[in-house]
Symmetry: C2
Subunit: 157 residues, 2 copies
């Protein structure tokens, strides 16, 4: 897939707002193409791995996982990618960011039910070979789905 055009961007824009509820017809109206075209485009975006999946945005705190933590770690650059594979398997880890710059080059986001989870997760991460720079609790996460796709084409409202 070469590059996104306005139709693709408009579709992404609408999907960002409600990936489960948005219908192809709705999106077609927004960007000015037929529902079939919308489905074709979405299929292409998925095949090109531009859209990797669709996930619910869950308020972990309300769901009973009151502890959200952020671990800032250092990993040898040579082993970093390999380590990430293992980190992703740690129970409670929801995201890992590999940094291109900086010495604190791995950011781990995790959730847990109790303070035991903090100990367990830091222990496992250390055992995997990372040096933990800091462990901090998250008060709140604000997600702002990237709504800058196709703003000219698919206006909100």
């Amino acid at each position: 897939m070469r590059e996104l055009d306005d139709v693709d961007r408009g579709i992404l824009h609408v999907l960002q707002a409600d990936a489960r509820g948005a219908t192809a017809a709705e999106m077609g109206d927004r960007v000015g193409v037929s529902p079939s075209t919308v489905r074709n485009r979405i299929g292409r975006l998925e095949e090109a791995d531009i859209v990797r999946g669709y996930h619910p945005d869950i308020d972990y705190e309300r769901a009973g996982y009151q502890l959200q933590m952020m671990l800032l770690c250092r990993a040898p650059v040579s082993e970093r990618s390999a380590l990430v594979e293992n980190i992703m398997r740690v129970h409670g880890v929801v995201a890992v960011r590999e940094m291109l710059t900086g010495t604190v080059n791995v950011h781990i986001e995790a959730v847990g039910e109790s303070s035991d989870a903090v100990d367990r997760i830091t222990g496992e991460v250390t055992r995997l070979g990372l040096e933990i720079e800091s462990v901090d609790l998250v008060k709140r996460v604000h997600v702002r789905p990237f709504n800058h796709f196709g703003e000219l084409r698919a206006e909100d409202g």
Copy 2:
């Protein structure tokens, strides 16, 4: 809403895998209830803001936004929540995490098309009143949708 039961957790589990494609019938089979019940439960989860929405997982790099950055900042605790409102409006910002502990208490995740975006975003964030501790580029983000809901009830496969 009091607390999640196995049915809720099983539904969340399946939604995590494919929030757009998963049908009520499918989820009902997985957790052993009727499709109607699945829809009722999902409605409750949404009303309780446990499920805040559904978003596509987009590979920003492949989508043409090659620069992903993480800004670690300090904000006066008293003003922090107010500042976050404004940060979320900055073009390119996709997530903000308010930290409960630590002096670096605001983590900002943003994307941009070129290096100009880095300057612009750091500038805007500074202007809003935050002290930037570090700006680092993200090489890759690994999202691991929290699949620990209802593992006993709704097995994968």
